[in-house]
């Protein structure tokens, strides 16, 4: 690993200042991708600004009918949170099945969303639930936030502080794990809530997480696994790699969508 300067600010303002001061400073929000990348010399930030010590960045609460989850809340904390389990059990279940216990106890929801790995689980939930990504400067709707593989609407120096999720009537996630990494080879999040019936797919798209109009239309008219039988899932724009071809991923999207509906 290249030499790096470590900061652990207590306030968001200090964090923003540290990010601005560093030559190539990066936010550290659990480090489950960033630290491995740095060890391989594929990233070389000058400074790491660890946001896990900032007041109010950890934990989940309910604000009216809206779940608010701090950006530095670990996957294990989301999975175990009583409020998340009550108001959006599908999201808690998703968090409880990310990676392995070591990853779940270090990785955070904000870190996952800022990285926007095309095979990460959380982006599909945020998109399907119509969540709002809250940063130190603004609120971004999930529809605007995800902008392709590892690309987001975040601007330089902008830090995610929390996410806001309007509690859905029904929601669930089904993942078929890539066997080595345990990331999603295909993950499908289905939701029926204040933002309508939405289906978001992760792990499969050439351009990262995406919504599937055909699956959404079918479920909007008939919320049942059987309603998806007639939907055509095209392999266009899907990833082909050593773990799964595009046609296999297309097939799995439908299988996982049906399983998610059955679980919701």
């Amino acid at each position: 690993m290249y030499p790096v300067k470590y900061h652990k600010p207590n306030t968001i303002d200090d964090a923003v200042a540290a990010l601005a001061a560093g030559e190539e400073a990066m936010v550290l929000a659990g480090g489950q991708t960033l630290l491995a990348t740095m060890k391989q010399h594929l990233a070389s930030p000058s400074d790491l600004v660890d946001i896990r010590g900032i007041d109010g960045m950890v934990g989940a609460c309910i604000d009216g009918d809206t779940l608010v989850i701090g950006a530095a809340t670990t996957h294990a904390e989301v999975a175990g949170s009583a409020v998340v389990r009550k108001h959006c059990p599908g999201l808690a279940a998703l968090a409880g099945n990310i990676g392995d216990p070591a990853v779940r106890n270090m990785g955070t929801i904000g870190g996952s969303l800022a990285n926007n790995d095309p095979a990460a689980c959380y982006p599909s939930a945020m998109l399907a639930l119509g969540a709002t990504i809250v940063t130190n400067t603004r609120q971004i709707s999930a529809d605007d936030y995800f902008q392709g593989m590892f690309a987001t609407a975040l601007e330089e120096g902008e830090i995610i502080t929390s996410v806001r999720v309007d509690a859905p009537a029904k929601a669930a996630y089904a993942k078929f794990a890539q066997p080595a990494s345990l990331f999603a080879l295909v993950g499908v999040f289905v939701a029926d809530g204040p933002h309508g019936v939405r289906v978001a797919v992760t792990g499969a798209g050439d351009d990262g997480v995406f919504r599937h109009a055909g699956l959404e239309a079918a479920l909007a008219s008939d919320w049942s696994a059987g309603a998806l039988d007639s939907v055509d899932v095209s392999e266009d724009g899907l990833i082909s790699d050593i773990h799964g071809s595009a046609d296999y991923r297309a097939h799995l999207i439908k299988v996982m969508a049906k399983r998610a509906v059955a679980a919701a």
Binding site: Y2, H41, F176, A180, I242, G244, S245, Y248, H251, L252
Partner: protein
């Protein structure tokens, strides 16, 4: 006796391992220690036109940058393969030159071209990235199926067509006749997926040069430190043997990958002399994937003929084997003498012919890995039996039974003479434990949940206890494969065993102590095992090929025989009795039928005090023995695997796995069970999960755990482990070796179960969800989600 042979004694070494007190190579720290980082080729095949280290030399902490031209100029020799294979036309194998640091050409991604020595590991690695190598890229051949093709890129000048050897075993004419006369012939194409060994502890080395004594010390992750010293001395000219000490301290797994002497150890030793610093290098996981010797990687076509009663009439095998860019230490023997002689399996066969062509490719060298040749043979034989049974409409267990060998010793047509076995009984045990009779009901229940359930067999035999030296020598081995032991009884009666075997997870500190405790009837705590240091232990051959029990322990037994003879003489003399009346039991050396006795430790003390020894007897109580086996040992087993396949996703779950093994005499059932668990898990890994993939440019696509799937605990069921002991007549304990059986026997059992479940034989390893889904599609099975 509570801690003797056959008792599940808790492992003596585990206290330090599970409390973090193990001392692995990387845990050691020398005075004046510096770090090495290797500059590695990013091309699979290229000419090295120049190396510019000027920028790297100016970087913080850098002590020196050394390259292959300097190494060669200092007389460091090329890396060798120690087993000479002769092609069927009588010509020797074509061994290409392998310098620890490449000079003219690089031949795989990861090939080292220079080494940076710096004050810290981080400084060394950062500076290594600043070394500029001018490469002229050459065309690449990364896959063995293409290595021998017309116009394939030439990797070594002295190996035309990249062919290393074209070797055969058996009688081709008789086999062709047997096949021609067969009532049924089964043809099968199989591939052996390429594996990466992945021991938990990565390779590591610390080399120290003492310029006053002109003496080198090497701490390294070796399964055979004496062999390492011999090769480093005799072939690589690092130092004469008496000026080189090799220490393999606690080693965290080997599986074969730590048998060989790699470029890094050689370079660290040489660099320690060049810089007069202790040089440490520890592989990271990425380097391990890139540079540890890989395994398997065969492509095979085979035919097996049967008469109308289902008896085998002939077995003909054509294999091409990938040995990678260079020939690693024992690479040549793996697809030849560790492979073809196992083709008779547990079956009566008169006619076998096996042809093996080995090729160079632009990939990391391939060598032995848990099972080494025997998994490849077993996979072929056992998939052949299962496939043939299905084609002939027979029960696969019945087809096997009709062909089982029942009398021992048994001479096969492919060199081996099986020592002992009882194949019907072990299959009976496996079938009973697996409740084969209840399978149809379980299959129906699974179908009600939408799952396809299948059952597969593997009844296998392997050759362990490597190896009778004379026989190995006649087949091309460059070394003898005996083992040594020294038994030291201390003046207080405690015992030290110095063994040439090396424990890197196997539990020798417990099992070797058990055979001493059993023999002298003393507490197992009073026995200490010393191994892994060429300055402490007499020359020994190390641990691989499940040889520590059949060969290593046998040497201990021979040495104990000598100790016991002397103990009897001393006791008879002291107690004024006949040697024949002396018995050793209960911590005493007694005169049978009397109350005359010496405590065990009193005999030890008498030997060293030497005030009252028989006339002419030398003082002391310490004996050495070398044991050279007269034959291999032949563990055999019957495995039954049950799987459930999810037809919607192609995912396979191993739901039941039953093993019935014949390891001969069992020293410690708990440790043997652990070996079976680990071996079967690696076998399931090969069958379902693991695969090294190089692309057409020779780039490694599976260079981390993000893409290379190791089996996890959740990927395997609770195992049912059965035993049946038919002692080997060829060693004093009757042991056969248990380290590799699981990895050898499991893969065909798993694949036979999946192919049974999905109703098609056309499935290659690893049976990933994608592969199984494709096979299901090809077989036009209905897929529920569609």
């Amino acid at each position: 006796m509570s801690s003797g042979i056959g008792k599940s004694v808790k492992r003596k070494e585990d206290k330090r391992f599970i409390t973090g007190k193990g001392r692995y190579t990387d845990d050691h720290r020398m005075d004046n220690q510096a770090y090495a980082a290797f500059v590695r080729s990013s091309h699979a095949h290229a000419r090295v036109k120049g190396i510019d280290a000027s920028a790297a030399r100016e970087m913080p902490g850098v002590i020196d940058v050394l390259d292959g031209h300097q190494l060669t100029a200092d007389g460091i020799g090329n890396i060798i393969c120690g087993w000479a294979i002769t092609s069927k036309d009588g010509s020797p194998m074509n061994m290409g030159a392998w310098s620890a640091l490449a000079t003219e050409k690089v031949r795989y991604v990861g090939d080292a071209v220079a080494v940076v020595i710096a004050e810290t590991q981080s400084q060394a690695r950062i500076a290594a990235e600043a070394v500029e190598v001018d490469y002229e890229e050459l065309p690449v051949v990364a896959h063995v199926a293409k290595a021998g093709a017309e116009g394939a890129p030439q990797i070594h000048d002295n190996a035309p067509g990249n062919l290393i050897y074209d070797w055969e075993l058996g009688d081709e004419a008789a086999t062709d006749k047997g096949l021609a006369e067969a009532a049924h012939v089964t043809t099968l194409d199989v591939t052996q997926n390429r594996l990466s060994p992945n021991p938990m502890e990565p390779r590591s080395a610390i080399a120290t040069y003492d310029d006053a004594e002109e003496h080198y010390t090497l701490y390294t992750t070796s399964q055979n430190p004496h062999v390492a010293r011999l090769v480093l001395s005799a072939f690589y000219n690092v130092a004469p043997e008496h000026k080189l000490r090799v220490i393999a301290p606690d080693v965290g797994g080997g599986f074969g990958a730590k048998i060989y002497i790699y470029p890094e150890e050689i370079t660290c030793l040489w660099a320690s002399m060049k810089t007069n610093r202790s040089i440490k290098w520890t592989s990271d996981r990425g380097e391990a994937f890139m540079t540890d010797a890989h395994a398997r990687d065969h492509v095979t076509t085979a035919k097996m003929g049967f008469d109308s009663d289902g008896k085998i009439t002939g077995f003909k095998i054509d294999t091409i084997a990938n040995l990678g860019a260079y020939m690693s230490l024992f690479s040549s023997s793996v697809p030849t003498y560790l492979y073809a002689p196992l083709m008779s399996g547990q079956y009566q066969m008169e006619n076998i012919y096996c042809n093996v062509k080995a090729y160079y490719t632009n990939t990391v060298p391939v060598d032995a890995y848990r099972g080494a040749g025997r998994p490849e043979a077993t996979y072929l034989v056992e998939r052949m039996m299962e496939t043939a049974a299905r084609e002939m409409g027979m029960d696969p267990a019945e087809l096997r039974r009709r062909n089982f060998i029942t009398e021992f010793p048994h001479q096969t047509p492919v060199l081996m003479q099986y020592d002992a076995g009882d194949f019907h009984t072990i299959l009976d045990k496996a079938q009973k434990a697996a409740d084969v009779a209840g399978f149809p009901a379980r299959k129906a229940e699974a179908a009600s949940r939408g799952k396809l359930r299948g059952l597969g067999y593997s009844t296998f035999i392997e050759a362990c206890g490597l190896a009778p030296s004379k026989a190995a020598g006649s087949l091309g081995a460059g070394v003898g494969l005996w083992e040594s032991a020294e038994v030291r009884v201390n003046p207080v009666g405690t015992v030290e065993i110095l063994t040439g075997s090396h424990s890197h997870g196997q539990g020798h500190e417990t099992t070797f102590a058990q055979i001493v405790a059993d023999r002298f009837d003393i507490p197992v705590e009073n026995v200490q095992i010393v191994h892994g240091d060429t300055d402490k232990v007499q020359f020994g051959m190390g641990t691989y090929g499940s040889r520590s029990a059949p060969v290593g322990m046998s040497a201990v037994v021979k040495a104990m025989d000598k100790v016991e003879a002397k103990v009897r003489k001393i006791a008879a003399h002291t107690l004024e009795a006949s040697e024949d009346d002396i018995v050793i039991e209960g911590g005493q050396v007694k005169v049978a039928g009397t109350d005359k006795a010496m405590a065990w430790h009193e005999v030890g003390l008498a030997a060293y005090i030497a005030h009252n020894l028989p006339d002419g007897m030398e003082p002391g109580l310490k004996e050495t023995a070398f044991f050279d086996p007269v034959n291999f040992s032949f563990p055999s087993g019957a495995f039954i695997c049950e799987v459930e396949v999810d037809p919607e996703t192609g995912h396979t779950e191993v739901v039941n796995f039953t093993s019935a093994d014949d390891f001969g005499t069992i020293i410690n059932p708990m440790i043997v069970e652990g070996q079976v668990h680990g071996g079967v898990t690696q076998g399931i890994g090969q069958a379902l999960l693991e695969q090294v993939i190089y692309d057409e440019d020779g780039q490694l696509l599976t260079g981390s755990y993000m893409d290379y799937t190791m089996p996890r605990a959740a990927d395997v069921p609770f195992f049912s482990v059965q035993h049946h002991e038919t002692p080997s007549p060829n060693n004093p304990l009757g042991v056969k070796g248990c380290g590799e059986a699981g990895a050898i026997g499991a893969p065909p059992a798993v694949i036979n179960a999946i192919t049974d479940a999905i109703g098609t034989n056309d499935l290659a390893m690893p049976a990933t969800p994608l592969a199984v889904w494709r096979a299901l599609q090809a077989a036009s099975k209905p897929i529920a989600a569609e």
